[in-house]
């Protein structure tokens, strides 16, 4: 029968899409494992892969072991975690806002977090010093700015307005940058240097203690988004439609907004502003495996991790003896790369 043939064709095409996602996950997982070892071996002091391996099992000399286990291993791991978190955070916000431009930096969340961190570095650190202090301040302001942007862009009929969203994000971004500049203006040179350096975004000096501190909120944020992966697909059809299909829109929206705020705020407070990762990684993988968030969440976690790990390695080994701040490299490489993708694959990625 013709109808059974059609069914089989439809089912096999759908299966093909899923198979492509599985293959992508496998390739990325392999790239992550291989990239991790490679990124540890590369750098100002080059360490052969065999010795990296030996150092992990305590069979290398003292100096190598210190570089590998105490310095590079946690640093590369932090870069991978932040890359994963920023990508998933961006992915979730693009779905919630139904807009491919949504990302932490465009929506003013990064400037909000920067303001919080600058405020703490300038005034809070002398009162109550703790590495949780910057995190708490950055997180609080990031959360506040996200809610503010969302509230400003929300209209009863039609949900979130794209234009309002971007304009509100830009305005809040400017507002928080203004506050940050004011803090810098009234601070002494040392404080300004540490604020500016913090804002450039860097993994310099990130160790195991940082990793242990950031991993829990990052896992929590990813879980909040991952459990709603299927609902996010429906949210891209608009909130009334999602409701009609059985999604508890209020709960999903809250969980995902809190999840991505936690992710972004954690990343920003640990390693400063790293732009564009949340924008380009979801775009690249959406063009490869399609917009299904059940596939995109794991793929963005792996892909973002691989991407930022490699970019960070490039940043610290491209111009020795300098270590470029990774935030500048993601913007300098990321922005043209993003434009190139938009120009060359615009028909496959996005239409509205």
């Amino acid at each position: 029968m013709q109808s059974t043939e059609l069914r089989e064709k439809a089912v096999s095409l759908d299966r093909k899409r899923r198979r492509r996602a599985y293959v992508t996950v496998l390739v990325l997982a392999a790239a992550l494992a291989a990239g991790y070892v490679l990124c540890i071996s590369l750098g100002s002091a080059r360490i052969p892969v065999a010795e990296v391996w030996a150092a992990f099992f305590g069979r290398a000399d003292w100096a190598t072991e210190m570089i590998v286990v105490d310095m590079r291993a946690p640093r590369v791991l932090c870069a991978a975690c932040v890359g994963a978190a920023l990508s998933v955070g961006g992915l979730a916000m693009q779905a919630i806002f139904r807009n491919p431009m949504a990302s932490p930096s465009v929506l003013g969340i990064s400037s909000g977090a920067s303001f919080g961190a600058a405020f703490y570095i300038a005034y809070g650190a002398s009162v109550f010093f703790s590495s949780w202090g910057t995190l708490a301040c950055a997180f609080g302001t990031a959360m506040a700015s996200m809610l503010l942007v969302y509230a400003l862009a929300y209209q009863r009929a039609g949900g979130v307005q794209t234009t309002m969203l971007l304009l509100a994000g830009m305005a809040l971004s400017a507002l928080f940058s203004g506050f940050t500049s004011m803090i810098e203006f009234f601070s002494d040179a040392d404080t300004v240097t540490s604020i500016v350096f913090w804002m450039l975004g860097s993994f310099d000096g990130r160790g195991w203690s940082d990793f242990y501190l950031m991993i829990l909120p990052l896992i929590a944020g990813c879980v909040l988004i991952a459990v709603n992966a299927r609902a996010l697909n429906l949210m891209t059809a608009g909130e009334p439609k999602a409701r009609a299909l059985g999604v508890n829109v209020k709960r999903v929206r809250l969980m995902v907004l809190v999840g991505s705020s936690v992710l972004v705020a954690t990343c920003v407070s640990f390693c400063g502003v790293i732009g564009f990762v949340g924008l380009i990684i979801p775009h690249i993988f959406r063009s490869i495996v399609g917009p299904d968030h059940k596939k995109l969440v794991p793929i963005c976690i792996l892909g973002g991790a691989v991407f930022l790990m490699l970019v960070d390695t490039f940043a610290r080994s491209a111009l020795p003896p300098y270590e470029l701040p990774v935030g500048t490299v993601t913007s300098v490489i990321g922005a043209p790369f993003f434009l190139w993708i938009l120009r060359s694959r615009k028909n496959e990625i996005w239409r509205s």
Partner: protein, 282 residues
Amino acid sequence: MAVLNVDGVSFSHGSRKILNDLTFTASKGEVVGILGQNGSGKTTLLNCINAEYRPQKGSVKLIDFSKESADPRHMNSGSLDVRDMSEHERSRILATVEQDSHMNFPFSVMEVVKMGRYSRAGMLDENTDAETDIVCSAMESTGVLEFSDRDVSELSGGEWRRVMIAQALAQEPEILLLDEPTLHLDINHQFDLMDLCRKIVSERDILIVIVTHDLQLAARYCDRIIVMKDGEIVSMGTARDVITEKMISGVFGMRARVEYDEEIQGMSVFLIGRSRCENDQR
């Protein structure tokens, strides 16, 4: 057996009154048409039924719905206000196809139809044979199976409409609400769609409520028709009773010839021209 009970529903948007004290019931196994001109409040009524809007007065109740669709806590209640149901529960009983919906992201047709299974299938058993079968049957009945792998953002208006109806069928609802389902469709697809509605009603014994301004299709395919004007019900009953030359002239301002046609076994409407022109002359 009543299924849908709209009881004294009034709705206003700010100071503008859109619905004024509407009351009617509709049962399983029938196609009910809500007929009226633009701005008569048809779509607002639909949004009150599917709980997207909250009416200021009155209530919309579902009566004698199947127990397996309801939440456990509602198992024993005979009638339920749509506003008291969770989204999850409501979506298993009520499906809505809106007039204008669009997808920003390039999902495939099959992925979009699968979304209709959200409240029926868990994340893990989404791709079992039984699930795939339901999704394929829904796509087949609206004729979108041929292009199941196409990117939905490339579809024409009519194709997209048929995908949305397939999605609603995949929900396996007991009440299907269609807002102007024939808009943007070719003549042949309009008739296919209405034939499909009749087929679904007789096969699955569900209620279909169609909001439309298309007199001919409503007259021909609906069992019962509710005519609305300025937020009020002006006439209600079988197509044969409601579709009259007088009603068409009063509500639509059109002169028409209406007769029972043996061949189509329904009312046929022939529109002649504006009737107000003669009355309203300045």
